[in-house]
Structures are given as structure tokens and as C-alpha cells.
Amino acid sequence: MSWSDAFLTMALEEHCNRQSPPDLAEQILQRASQQAPERTSRLASDVRGPRPGDGNHKALLAAAAMVTVAIAAVLGVWHAASEQEAQGPESWLPLQRGTTWEYRVSDATGTWTNTETVLGEARFGDRDYHLVVSHRPEQPQAIAARLVAIDAAGIWQDRRWIEWAPDLGTPPVGRCLLPLPAAPDREWAWTGEQNGQRIEFHGEVLAIDERCKVAAGTFTTIRLRGTTTIAGETTVEEQWLARGVGLVRKRTMRGEDVVSTSELTRTRPGTGSWDPRMQLPTLLAKSDLHELGMPDEVREIELGVDALLIDSAFLRVRHGKDWQFWWLTRDWLTAFDPQDLAAWNELITTERLFTSPRVDPTLGALAICGVAGRIEAAASGYRVTGAAMREQWTGAVGRPTIRIDGRLPMTKNGKNELRAVHIDVQNGRLQSLRVR
């Protein structure tokens, strides 16, 4: 399902239900008359046509607010190239697990707090990336994630949106946020593609040693400007970054309009560790599963996926005689119980956490369900060893064909049963799944 498919669904719902948009003009005007706006609007002139000099805003018409690809939160204070080299590129950013930044974000809809957290690490190719997720305190699910890497040549980032699980299925492109060593007037550029549209990015260092005062304190910063153009629309982001701290202030503009501002209110260094079992009570309270209460027994399933080390855990939990599989991340808890082909396929396609280039998604799903205990990349395909729950499955595993005949514990009508399972995967696609 893409947004284009979703558009068709929305249109069909409106068409089939004769559910046209209502006329809200009177209600809006009534509410508007009760408000005292902050400044006089020019909107009355809109319906009479544009004013002279507004033609240059036509560039703003087309698509996307390129916040997704622009320079994002990172880095540290600029001192001097030699000093940077002496400190090492890693000194630009604190990226230990658990490091958090809190920002006060303002846009036309109001002001809110956004928190960014370093969740873990993932290795793609020859680079170690750090996974940083964004969320709002009142909404436990992360709303966006980015993979950040630092090396001697620069700071690299791939930003991606998430709702319920980080999409780590594709390797990061690693777009340059800032070439190192940073220097005044330094410029850089890249081009790319998103949703079939060409993206052009141009970055420049506007100032160094600029004092920047925000709620979290006063920092010596490097000021950057990133200009992103996609489908004729240009978005400009200015960022103030402090060494060893990260992003201190950000301002996003489209044309003459400031679309949003963001400033650091608090930051906390990470401890570098994370214990899923400690997280369970908090997440359970926020989850649909809270009615079940704390499990009588919790066993962590070892996945052994060496390509990915983010903070998530698969747990086999027991309430009385019933066993279930739960997946837990730093801010989310859910249950898995795929019992038919459709559920299995949905699991494979939606839970893309394990679709790194080195791990087949079906194998990831097998691991989630506890059929496979440990998955490792081997010279000729994959090697699957052990079984997380019971060592009662046998079969040959190798790319591109996987056939497993075994027994899988499943809960049905409150009863925990060990059921015979046959799984056939060819070319990475599930061909059949039979449960008896």
C-alpha cells in the first residue's frame, strides 16, 4: 500500500458513500470572529488574485517539504580544523545509546516537545550507523528515524519515516550532512531521488564560532544552511550545531515563510545499555496487551542477527499455560501470532526490521516466531542453528530455497499447542505454509 493507493481508497470511500466534504465556511468564520489574530492577514486579497511581486513564490507550489532529506540533528562546535582532527570525528556527536535531546518545536499549529533518542547501532557495508528516533512524549511510538554515521570524511545520514517499526530494510544512502574537517565557506552538494522525483541539495557553512542562546544554554556553534529542491519546490534549513552537544537550533523556510523552528531545551547523555525486561512494565501499561498483566514468565529469544543491533527484543512470555510471542522496542510492545499464510505474509512485509541485505525477510519472520533460534550469514547462504523454544524442527536452509518441517508452539482458544508446520520459501518468497 502506497500513498497513491491510499488516495484511491479515500476517493472510493467518498464516492461510494456519497460522503462529500461539508461546507464549513460559516463555522470557520464564526470561530474566527472570536479570535484575535496576531497580525493582519493578507488573505482577503487572495481571492482577488496575486499581488505584484508574488510571482517568485511559484517555485513553492509543487511537492514535498524536504525536511526528510535536509541536514538534520547532529554535530558539535566548530573550533578549528586541526583541533577537530585532534579530537577525532566522533567528537562531533554524542551517539551513545540512550542519548536524548529535547526540542521545543513551533509551527503554525502550535508548540510542542520533540524528543530524539539514540536507539542503537547497525552496520551497513563498511560503515557503522547509529539509529536515532524522534517521538513526542505524549505519543510513545517513534515518528521518524535516521541513521547517522561519522568518519574522517564527514557526517552521513539517511533519514526515513516510521510509524510502528523502523524501516531498516534498505541500506542507507549516506547523504553528506557535513564534510569534515568543517571550514568557513565550505560548500557541498548531492543529488538523489525520492518517490521518483529528483532531489538537489546544496549545503554551505554560513558561520563558525557563532554564539547561539537557547533554552538549554548558550553555545558556540557552527551555522549551516541546506537548500533542498524537489519537484520545483525549495526548502531551506538553517542549523546551529554545537560540538559534543548536537543540534541546538533549527529554522525551516519555504520562500519568505518560516515554516518551523526548533530549539534545544534539554539533553542527556546515554548510558550505552538497554535492558528489555526492565522496559516491559512501562511499555505493557501503554500497550493493548495491558489487560493480560505482567507475564508469569519471560524468556528472551536470541535472534543472532549480527547485521542489526538496535534496541529491540523478542520475548516468549507465559500467562498461566498460554505462551505468546511479544516484540518489544524502546517505545513499543506488540504480540505476534501468525497462524495462516496471510498473517505470515503480513508479518514478513510489515515487520521489515530484519530485511537487511544479509538477512532474508522470511528468516527474520521465522526468528520472530521462534521457529529459528539463530540466523547467521554464511558463505553459501544462511546458517540456521538451534531453536529458540524447542529443538523440534528439522530442515535445510539455504538461499534461495528454505524448507522447514517442524513443530511450532501456537496458542489457540487459550490452549498452547505444538502444531506441525511446513514452510516452503523460494527466491525469498513464501510459497506455502501449512499448520496442522
Binding site: 476517493a11 481571492v47 496575486p50 499549529t109 521518483g196 515563510d257
Partner: protein, 166 residues
């Protein structure tokens, strides 16, 4: 000033904002509320340009942020990536309101084979599901799934053709 929001301006844009919110995943009542909020935000923080397309874009960005603030799940749990949504929107809608899409849809639905039209109507009328389609058309689940998929594909092709004709 309240009179800066004219009925003409609201009526030019309200259908587009409401449909955009429905696209994101709002139920109709929630779309009503958030559409109003978007216009009130426009009153408080108007963009510098007065071009209708800029205003429409501004309203959509604001609607998206308002939707995010509600914490609702997006349609089909799709990521709320403004770029992806905007590109999908721009590929279907040419006006500030999107009314032309529904004229095209009417035309394309009329051109579908009877069973496809019936399947889509059962599926999307009053939140019907695939099982209801299967029952209404005497199909099994896989048959209903396949028919719906082919009907949507055909409809999408027709809509694209209509857009290109405009």
C-alpha cells in the same frame, strides 16, 4: 482579523483540506474539526504569498501537522512522510479542491464491468470488507481479493488516462 478569511477563500480550499485529512486517515467528523483548525491557523500565521496554490500547500502542511498532533494512526499505518504524501496528492489532484478527481471517478466507475463496480461498491460503501464482497458476489475469499485488485488497477489506469486528457 476575522474578515481576512472570506467565505470565497474558505470554499476554494476547504474541500481540498478535508480530502487531504481523509487521505491521511481521519474519519469524516475528525476531518471536519481539523479542517476548521487549519483555517484558523491560516488566520493566525498566513503565508507570505497570496497565490491559491501556495495557500493550498500551506493548508495541507498544517493539516498534516494537526493530524500528527492528534496521535491518530495514519491510513494503513503508512509513514507520515510529507514528501511521499504530497507527491501522491500532486499526482492525482490538479486544483485546490480536488473536485475534478470525483468527476473522473464517476466516469471511470461507470465504465467498469458490472461485477467490478459491484465489488468496489460493496467494499467501500459503509466500510464493507472482502468477506462482504465474497458473499455478495458468490466468490471465495481469494476470488474477491483478486477481483478487487483488478478493479482497482483498472480504475487507477482510467483515472490516469482522464488526468492526461485534461
Amino acid at each position: 482579523m476575522a474578515d481576512a478569511l472570506t467565505p470565497e477563500l474558505i470554499r476554494r480550499h476547504q474541500n481540498g483540506v478535508w480530502r487531504y485529512l481523509r487521505l491521511l486517515g481521519c474519519e469524516p467528523a475528525a476531518a471536519d474539526d481539523l479542517t476548521q483548525e487549519a483555517f484558523l491557523a491560516l488566520l493566525r500565521h498566513p503565508p507570505s504569498s497570496t497565490e491559491p496554490a501556495v495557500i493550498a500547500r500551506w493548508l495541507r502542511t498544517t493539516a498534516l501537522n494537526l493530524f500528527r498532533n492528534t496521535g491518530r494512526r495514519a491510513r494503513q499505518d503508512l509513514p507520515l512522510d510529507e514528501t511521499a504524501i504530497e507527491l501522491a496528492w500532486a499526482s492525482h489532484v490538479r486544483s485546490t479542491h480536488g473536485d475534478e478527481v470525483f468527476d473522473d471517478l464517476e466516469h471511470c466507475m461507470a465504465g467498469l464491468p458490472e461485477r467490478m463496480r459491484q465489488a468496489l461498491t460493496v467494499r467501500y460503501e459503509a466500510n464493507g470488507n472482502r468477506r462482504a464482497v465474497a458473499a455478495a458476489l458468490d466468490l471465495n475469499d481469494e476470488g474477491a481479493k483478486s477481483l478487487l485488485r483488478r478493479a482497482r488497477e483498472r480504475l487507477a489506469r482510467c483515472l490516469q488516462h482522464q488526468r492526461e486528457q485534461r
